[in-house]
Amino acid sequence: MSVEESIDAPPVVQTEAPIAEPIIVETEPPFRPSLVGWFARGAVLAAIAAIVLLVPTTRGAVDVHIYTQAVIFAIIGLSLNVLLGYTGQISLGHQAFVGIGAFTSAYMVTVHRQPFIAAVGMAMIVGGLQALVLGAVSLRITGLYFALITLAYGTMAEESLFNIQSLTGGSAGQPAPKPAGFNTDLRYYYLCLAFLAAVIWVDWRLMRTKGGRALSAVRENPRVAATFGTDVKVYTLMAFVVAGVFAGLGGALLAHNDTFVVRDLFNFQLALVFVIMTVVGGLRNRAGVVVGSAFFGLVAYFFEKLFSNGLDIPSLKLLPKEYAAIVIGPMLLLFTLTRHPGGMGQQVLPLQRWLRGGRFSLKDTHESEVRVSDVRA
């Protein structure tokens, strides 16, 4: 894939006159919001931006640390969305994707004394490369068997890669200091927001250009995709690489947020949370995945707060906070699969449509084309 600037002009179609008898469908004229309507939309957007940008300034460092984690989870959710949503390939080993990014970045900064940006870049490259290997496997093995391979891959990484003393610092862990200039939690939060914005941009452009269209076609019908001129193998690999790069970035940011990475963090339970947050967020729905993933980034901490602030449910109090996501997750997952296949994305769709200048209506949110069977497993 080389970046080509030149554009071959597609052949011009000569006549405009219809050859076949045109099919006329009567449609309503498109809805145009009034000036007040646009103003209201602007106000809502500003309010959302204010919450994201300003609320953390009023909170303590511990809270901001968690918000940052939510932002990073959104990046990881978008990474998994490329595989699960756009490509229809499952990954049950995403903790390895993220963990490799985290350790690469920590290793580069701590052992090799590289600047933060170089370390993150390396984490993205390594993340992409390791995903490419898994992608190559996916070309041969599909469906449930491939899901098992990813599961094994995650466990393999846990047991072998993450035990390499020099890379991960063994059970002691590897320090990953925050970069110069962003060493407070608040500043680092904004840095992560900037990275999330970049990931959202890439994800948006991906799906609006030929790469994303090719991925959708390959997911639904590889034969048709090939007939349209798509190299099915290349694009499947591309999806893995994109997901790996995003996950590597997410892992690196996660490492520096905690300022210390320990291998115990990247266990299968984390991979499950990643899958659940992406599905509950809503496959192929950017806003939904971001909201869903951020929610799962926050949930454990919320629960701790909820319980320590006096909500006394004796039997639940025994539940360690790390398990909150694992308990809430399946409940939400069941709800998603049975009632709302579009996930949280389906819930935010009316708002999204309205913000884009459409009419506000709760109707038509069930058109969601997401099906459970979408994932080839």
């Binding site: 080509e4 600037e5 179609v13 050859i19 250009t209 030929k210 639904e220 048709v224 190299d231 591309m238």
Partner: protein, 270 residues
């Protein structure tokens, strides 16, 4: 020079000989019909031509080049366009998205450039959009552009699929039963459309077709397959009156039952 040449292609699936020594040719600007009863190996032949199957023996030549070893997408890049019996479209996408997807090779930028969002890709996308609009206009599906493909009637899907294949800018159009599900009048109208399209887009056409009147209307040459083998070839009239063809379609007894001279040559409509 012939645009397409299939030279002695055979393919076996396990014990089934799906195609045996199939040879056919399509010259520039020709419309070639492929007929034959169900299971005769017509679609198998198409799959060999487009690269979904690799023949055990024989070769496929396209524009004077041996393409037997090439993949499906590579043949599309060379100018093969193909429609499917059960409609080759991305069903969950809208008609417009399908016309965009089909312009994969016409986009003129790399997937990476698109992902990063280089300004030139925005310009290219606008051009693709104009081209999609123009094509939709020609095929009379302009009003459907924002509809989802899933849920549209079958006849329309066939037309949209044709639009998508034309969007890949083919020189050779392979149509797999383009008029299935159509009545005789619709099929006739399709024939006129096809002739127009050939003129407009400089196409060579190979089509699997069951409507014999349509075959007679548009085809320059016809191949008849039966049990994976070439049974007859010639002009539509020659093939239609070929006793082997009649037997293949109607069976031995039927042919005997028909008294020649009383009813003349039966119109084969399967």
């Amino acid at each position: 020079m012939s645009v397409l040449e299939v030279r002695g292609c055979s393919i076996r699936f396990g014990g089934v000989q799906a195609a045996r020594d199939v040879t056919l040719k399509a010259g520039e600007w020709e419309i070639v019909g492929v007929i034959g009863p169900n299971g005769a190996g017509k679609t198998t032949t198409f799959n060999i031509i487009t690269g979904f199957y690799r023949p055990n023996e024989g070769s496929v030549w396209f524009k004077g080049r041996d393409v037997t070893g090439l993949g499906v997408h590579e043949r599309t890049a060379l100018g093969m366009g193909r429609t499917f019996q059960n409609v080759g479209l991305v069903k969950s996408a809208t008609v417009r998205e399908n016309l965009f997807t089909a312009q994969h090779l016409e986009a003129g930028y790399s997937a990476l450039a698109g992902m990063i969002g280089l300004p030139s890709t925005f310009v290219a996308e606008r051009r693709l959009s104009e081209r999609a609009d123009a094509l939709a206009g020609i095929l009379g599906i302009g009003d459907l552009l924002d509809k989802r493909v899933a849920g549209l009637p079958y006849g329309l899907l066939k037309r949209i699929e044709l639009g998508a294949v034309l969007a890949t800018d083919p020189d050779l159009l392979l149509l797999d039963e383009p008029t299935s599900g159509m009545g005789p009048e619709e099929a006739h109208a399709f024939g006129s459309t096809l002739l127009e399209l050939r003129r407009e887009f400089d196409l060579t056409v190979v089509m699997i077709e069951h409507h014999v009147p349509l075959v007679a209307q548009v085809c320059d040459y016809v191949y008849c397959l039966n049990f994976g083998e070439l049974l007859a070839e010639g002009t539509p009239d020659q093939v239609r009156s070929n006793p082997d063809v009649i037997r293949a379609y109607l069976g031995q007894e039927a042919e005997e039952a028909l008294e020649p001279g009383v009813r003349g040559v039966p119109e084969v409509t399967v």
